[in-house]
């Protein structure tokens, strides 16, 4: 039974989505329960999957779709490969999906009205796509699944207001370019190797000594470009801030923590497993340095852009751009600590972004204001939400014992080992900028002027303390926030275990 866990993880939300569609409009509660149960099953089995991987001797599970076995050394069918990294990412995806579904309950009725069943269906299909991406061991199957996640997210984002539709359109253009570059890169690999299985491609590249070929280099560049567009690495990030900012809140609180992170996972997968660390890092002297500098620019630019925003969600989305820089840089430091930091940051960033987006959504919903002024005096008005926001923010700044601190720890130690001081400086700089950003908010929330009197401290606060649009925050929103806070803390406190698991999954450098 254990070997079929990956299928259960994928099929539960798939059937959940179909069921939600069949239930149709008018049965919102039933749709919610369907989604909840399906994702609950999926999350449960994802956790079981981690145990199964731990229990297995090789540290990875392989699952052959259709029961097709290899023929003379090559896989003819599609294979799933679940190592520790994949199992953990899948668990993160399904758990975030599950918790976000609880959060969505009251939110989507207001935002989606009659399309609630479509929201649940698309959301679950998005989770199917993300889980599939993480587990597949077939380069082309990866493309199909990337497109599944893209299409669902285009549709989900476009369900927002008219600006959401426009940003979704831009996302389609950028996303299609990205996915097509990836597809083209896979085509180049196929034309040179004659196989699509990730392990087999690496094997052929190695045995056929194809590493020096121009087409392989260009395939690598194309795939990387495609993945970077999808993960919004600066300066290819243009689509992300608007898309996540104007999307319905239940959508952005799910996509913001996961989409870019899963694409980072894909990048690691391509680097370490599809091409092999030997190839990527050995000839990497040319591009390795270049990419680290790109990531430094991403970190610095993302931080600055975030600093300049007065819209809560926009600010958070630019922080995501900066965080993507962390992970890309860490992956190219060519040492264990940097790579571990990059992998660990997938989880820690997912946890803290989730936490921040949930809190921000609650604040926006309750105050009806999407600018930073919404936070005025909130420590008194919404203490629980603000505690959640604070924990997420402290993690972004990187204070112990939150997970953000530990990912910085590993990334910085990787930077020090590699002797890449500019990267270390960029990380510290981003921490400081985050501190400024969030303490600006804390100051508002802590002292904020509730009386509506203009204050020379905050001259733009003349109309501060907006009237609350919601009497009280429902439990179905506070519980997810609480769970996200726990995730931020637990991922932080158990970083050692997590990193040791991740290191076991890492191929030798």
């Amino acid at each position: 039974m254990t070997e079929h866990y990956p299928v259960v993880i994928l099929m539960a939300p798939l059937f959940g989505a179909l069921l939600a569609t069949l239930l149709g409009r008018g049965r919102q509660v039933a749709c919610w329960w369907t989604a909840l149960i399906a994702l609950g099953i999926s999350a449960l089995f994802a956790v079981g999957n981690i145990c199964a991987v731990l229990a297995s001797g090789e540290g990875e599970l392989r699952y052959r779709m259709g029961g097709w076995h290899e023929s003379s050394g090559y896989e003819v069918g599609i294979e799933l490969r679940v190592d520790m990294l994949a199992a953990l990412v899948v668990a993160a995806v399904t758990l975030v999906g599950f918790v976000n579904t609880i959060f969505a309950k009251t939110r989507v009725t207001g935002e989606m009205r009659e399309k609630v069943s479509f929201y649940y269906a698309l959301n679950q299909l998005l989770i199917v796509g993300l889980c599939g991406i993480v587990m597949t061991n077939d380069a082309f199957n990866l493309y199909v699944l990337i497109e599944i996640t893209s299409l669902t997210s285009y549709a989900l984002i476009a369900m927002g207001n008219r600006r959401a539709a426009l940003s979704s359109f831009n996302y389609i253009i950028m996303g299609t370019i990205g996915a097509s570059f990836y597809l083209l890169g896979v085509g180049y690999l196929y034309i040179k190797t004659g196989t699509l299985n990730i392990d087999d491609i690496r094997g052929v590249l190695q045995s056929g000594n194809l590493w020096g070929h121009a087409s392989i280099t260009i395939a690598f560049i194309l795939i990387m470009l495609g993945v970077w567009i999808k993960m919004a690495l600066f300066p290819l990030h243009g689509w992300l801030p608007n898309a996540y900012c104007y999307a319905p809140s239940a959508v952005s609180s799910f996509m913001a923590p996961l989409m870019t992170k899963v694409m980072v996972y894909v990048m690691l997968r391509v680097m370490l497993w599809l091409f092999g660390s030997e190839y990527v890092y050995s000839s990497g002297h040319v591009w390795g340095e270049l990419i680290i500098w790109m990531s430094i620019i991403a970190i610095v630019a993302g931080s600055f852009l975030a600093l300049a925003r007065t819209d809560i969600k926009k600010m958070l989305t630019y922080l995501i751009v900066a965080e993507v820089g962390y992970m890309v840089g860490g992956a190219w430091l060519v040492n264990g600590a940097g790579l571990a930091g990059s992998m660990y940051h997938i989880f820690s960033d997912a946890a803290m972004t989730f936490c921040l987006f949930l809190a921000a959504s609650i604040v926006i919903l309750r105050t009806g204001d999407h600018r930073l002024t919404a936070f005025n005096g909130l420590f008194r008005r919404m203490p629980l939400t603000m505690i959640g926001f604070t924990v997420g923010a402290l993690s972004m700044i990187g204070l112990p014992p939150t997970c953000g601190f530990f990912s910085k720890w590993y990334l910085i130690s990787g930077g020090i080992e590699a002797g890449h001081w500019a990267y270390v400086a960029a990380l510290l700089f981003s921490s400081l900028v985050n501190a400024v950003i969030f303490f600006r908010i804390f100051e508002r929330a802590y002292f904020g002027n509730l009386k509506g009197v203009a204050d020379e401290q905050f001259p733009d606060d003349r109309d501060s303390a907006p009237p609350l649009t919601l009497e009280r925050v429902p439990c179905s929103m506070l519980i997810p926030l609480f769970l996200a806070v726990m995730a931020v803390l637990l991922v932080g406190i158990y970083n050692n275990t997590l990193v040791s698991w991740l290191k076991a999954a890492m191929p030798p450098l």
């Binding site: 079929h4 798939l14 369900m159």
Partner: protein, 250 residues
């Protein structure tokens, strides 16, 4: 923007052209893709292990059946995505006049031709679905044709006529059913002790041996694909053509 676009195009184009220099010649039978183990297996062994003479169908529905299932899901997503984005329920009365009142199939020639054509198209579509094992064809191709037959109906006789035969609710149910058939067939394999989509394990309940079980199962999943494609094609058309109001067609 134009300048930036030009630079991007030049850079990417140069990269791509450089790479072509490295490729095996066009149509070279000894290129890795053509001579590789994987394609060799498909060409030589397909008929042995699945008894399906059309290798494309076998690769599509069996060797890479997992891909194809998600492909169907992609279609499904496009369909419900378009409905989710575009469909306006209820209050549309004020906007209905945006569109000129279409001439709803008043032309008797068009209408009669259409009535004559639709059954033929549908019949041929069913043939394409069913005969995918032996000739070019399969669920996608047949499904598109089936969908096209409904679209033709809508074009010629107006959307309400087509909607009577394929209403929105019906289309969604049909689309979902298609995937349920496909994925459900895969899950069924689990209960017979095989891996997901391992059709051979269904041989106790299907006529013939293990290889025939694969062949039969492919037909089943192709039918599932056809369901989904048919319904979604029509749903896409009807939503795009009416801006999601599903009242009047073009």
């Amino acid at each position: 923007m134009k300048f930036f676009g030009f630079i991007a195009v030049v850079v990417v184009g140069t990269l791509l052209l450089v790479a072509t220099g490295d490729f095996p010649g066009w149509g070279n039978p000894h290129s890795p893709a053509s001579e590789g183990q994987v394609s060799g297996f498909y060409i030589e062994q397909t008929v042995n292990v699945t008894k399906v003479p059309n290798m494309v169908t076998a690769v599509l529905a069996d060797f890479r059946g997992y891909d194809t299932m998600f492909e169907t899901v992609v279609i499904f997503i496009a369909g419900i995505g378009i409905i989710a984005v575009l469909r306006t329920f209820g209050d549309t009365a004020g906007k209905a006049s945006d569109y000129p009142e279409p001439d709803e199939g008043s032309d008797i020639i068009v209408r009669s031709t259409c009535h004559l054509m639709v059954p033929l198209i549908q019949l041929f579509a069913l043939y394409v679905v069913a005969h995918g094992h032996h000739s070019p064809g399969g669920g996608f191709q047949g499904g598109v044709m089936l969908g096209a037959s409904y679209i033709l109906l809508a074009l010629a006789c107006g959307l309400p006529v087509a909607k009577r035969r394929m209403g929105e609710r019906k289309a969604i149910v049909l689309a979902a059913t298609g995937i349920i058939i496909y994925a459900g067939w895969g899950v069924a394999c689990l209960f017979f002790g095989g891996n997901f989509l391992d059709y051979a394990s269904l041989d106790p309940v299907l006529p013939g041996d293990k290889e025939m079980a694969r062949s039969h199962s492919m037909l089943v999943v192709e039918i599932g694909v056809a369901f989904t494609v048919t319904a979604i094609m029509f749903a896409i058309y009807s939503n795009l053509a009416t801006r999601g109001r599903l009242e009047k067609g073009l």
